[in-house]
């Protein structure tokens, strides 16, 4: 059901943990749906110099978080903004259709953290204007009748 990449990131997740003096923290999802993702960013001169995550969720949620952190580490804010859930899923060699929303969560956690950074630091990020993480990104398999 999962690719080797997913299983690798699930078993050996990169960048798990917290950053005590983070510049931006984003938390998305809700426990009701079985998934919460929390991202911590350390940003210097517009570059993500460190990132850590914590995730309550399934295998693909954990793998997506891990992959997302790898993909944004060392990148500029502009580059980070370009991260899509599809890119995360592709980097994992694909996710089952019912699990795509886990990668959406990863994208949104990153953006939430950036938004938090923007608020705290006063650095404007116009691309995030109006950004609001969905409460319910779950999109389960079609039920045919």
């Amino acid at each position: 059901m999962y690719t080797e990449k997913v299983m690798d990131h699930f078993t050996n997740p990169r960048n798990v943990g917290e950053i005590p003096d983070a510049d931006g923290i984003g938390e998305v999802g809700n426990a009701k749906c079985g998934d919460i993702m929390k991202m911590y960013l350390k940003i210097e001169d517009g570059v993500v110099v460190d990132v850590k995550f914590k995730t309550f969720g399934c295998g693909s949620a954990i793998a997506s978080s891990s992959m997302a952190t790898e993909m944004i580490k060392g990148k500029t804010i502009k580059e980070v903004l370009a991260l899509t859930n599809k890119a995360v899923a592709e980097a994992l060699d694909g996710l089952p259709p019912v699990k795509m929303h886990c990668s959406v969560l990863a994208e949104q956690a990153v953006k939430s953290a950036l938004l938090d950074y923007s608020k705290r630091s006063g650095v404007a990020i116009p691309e995030l204007e109006g950004f609001e993480p969905d409460e319910d990104v779950h999109d389960h398999e079609e039920h045919e009748e």
Partner: protein, 391 residues
């Protein structure tokens, strides 16, 4: 790597004795039981002997046993068959919120076809309230369908009392005993059960065979129409090999239920205790006493079940989270929600179901690995972080 299979409530490994009895019907004994020549007559005999065995195991008459393609078909047949056959009498069905989807989705379907269904709730242990059941019965009620024992949390319902109530009110009573057969003594002749579903693959028999007990005189339509097999009530060329397998499997499973339960319960209670001792923030789901001998169902706070299952699989341990029969869906189990678990706790559930092939030594392996995995996943969890902070 070590392989420890702890998902016996989802399906079991077939016993060698069962397969051995089936084998001739895959080779030389291939005759159609409906035909009159020798190889057909021999098949017919095998089918009827298997039916006798199923009947004997349940204290029923052979002519009250109908073979089906599994527990799901049996449930569909019982519920739809009675609904359609009695719709001139009434259109109301009573069931519970914790039924297997085979009953639940059948009831949902019947609602769309003009039937009315009452779904009884359950208490924190998964038991229904008999007074509530009695109150739910009205003039239009034609059927009560309540499972014998739940597949997820193992809770065993007060079937005798439910039967009495149904009988007193003149309402048919069907019970899904797919999980109960082999773990609970069943004596249909001295019961008020009108229909009972069972399945082969939960008792070390083959997958894709089941039976429906239909008490003589019960008004029920056939569900699968066609040839005159099964006394004109269930059409289709007989799956002789599997019928023979089911006969052998149920014979073995009911030969010494008490002795067997004692062994399985010793393993179960040891497992429950060790998990309680070794891991904190856990909750045993289901009834403390009225539960299936092999059922262990725990919620582990702050983590999610699928991640837990995947991690266990990596060390060779097979368990389940929510109903394994329906895990195509990612919704938290309807049973765990029904006993009042908050969503996030329901998500962190793990069912380990013990079977005849498990050993004490395997359980050690499970507990050691489980403790480690739970800790690792918790260390990744933002929810656990908060609790630790509060400590």
């Amino acid at each position: 790597m070590k392989q420890v299979y702890m998902d016996n409530a989802a399906t079991t490994k077939m016993k060698k004795e069962v397969l051995d009895e089936m084998m001739p019907y895959f080779t030389e004994q291939y005759g159609n039981p409906s035909s009159i020549y020798r190889v057909g007559r021999e098949s017919k005999k095998a089918v009827e002997e298997a039916r006798e065995k199923v009947a004997k195991a349940l204290g029923a008459k052979a002519k009250e046993i109908y073979f089906t393609s599994g527990g799901t078909e049996s449930d569909n047949w019982a519920v739809k068959g009675v609904a359609y056959a009695n719709k001139d009498k009434g259109n109301h069905i009573i069931t519970t919120v914790i039924e297997h989807h085979a009953v639940l989705h059948t009831c949902k379907y019947l609602e769309k076809q003009g039937f009315e269904v009452t779904y009884l709730g359950v208490d924190e242990h998964g038991l229904i309230d008999l007074t509530e059941l009695e109150k739910a019965i009205k003039d239009e009620t034609i059927l009560i369908s309540i499972m014998y024992a739940n597949n997820e949390i193992g809770t065993v319902q007060p079937i005798a009392e439910i039967g009495k109530i149904a009988k007193a009110k003149g309402v048919y009573f069907h019970t899904d005993a797919v999980q109960a057969v082999g773990s609970v003594e069943i004596d249909l002749e001295n019961s008020d059960i009108d229909m009972l579903s069972l399945s082969g693959h939960k008792i070390y028999g083959p997958k894709g065979i089941g039976a429906l007990y239909i008490k003589q005189g019960t008004k029920i339509h056939p569900f699968i129409h066609g040839g005159s097999q099964e006394k004109n009530r269930r059409a289709g060329t007989e799956n002789i090999a599997y019928m023979v397998g089911l006969g052998k499997a149920i014979e073995m499973a009911t030969a010494d239920i008490d002795g067997h339960n004692k062994e399985i319960m010793a393993l179960r209670d040891g497992l429950i205790q060790r998990i309680n001792d070794k891991i904190d923030y856990v909750k045993l789901n289901g009834h403390p006493e009225k539960r299936l001998p092999g059922n262990v169902n725990f919620s582990f706070e702050f983590i999610e079940g699928e991640a837990l299952l995947l991690s266990l699989d990596m060390v060779g341990i097979a368990g389940s989270s929510g109903s394994a029969c329906t895990s195509g869906s990612l919704d938290p189990s309807h049973v765990l929600l029904a006993i009042g678990l908050p969503h996030e706790i329901a998500h962190g559930s793990l069912r380990l179901s013990i079977g005849d092939f498990n050993s004490e030594e395997e359980l050690d392996y499970v507990v050691d690995n489980l403790a480690e995995i739970v800790q690792r996943l918790r260390n990744m969890s933002p929810l656990y972080e908060k609790v630790k902070g509060e400590k």
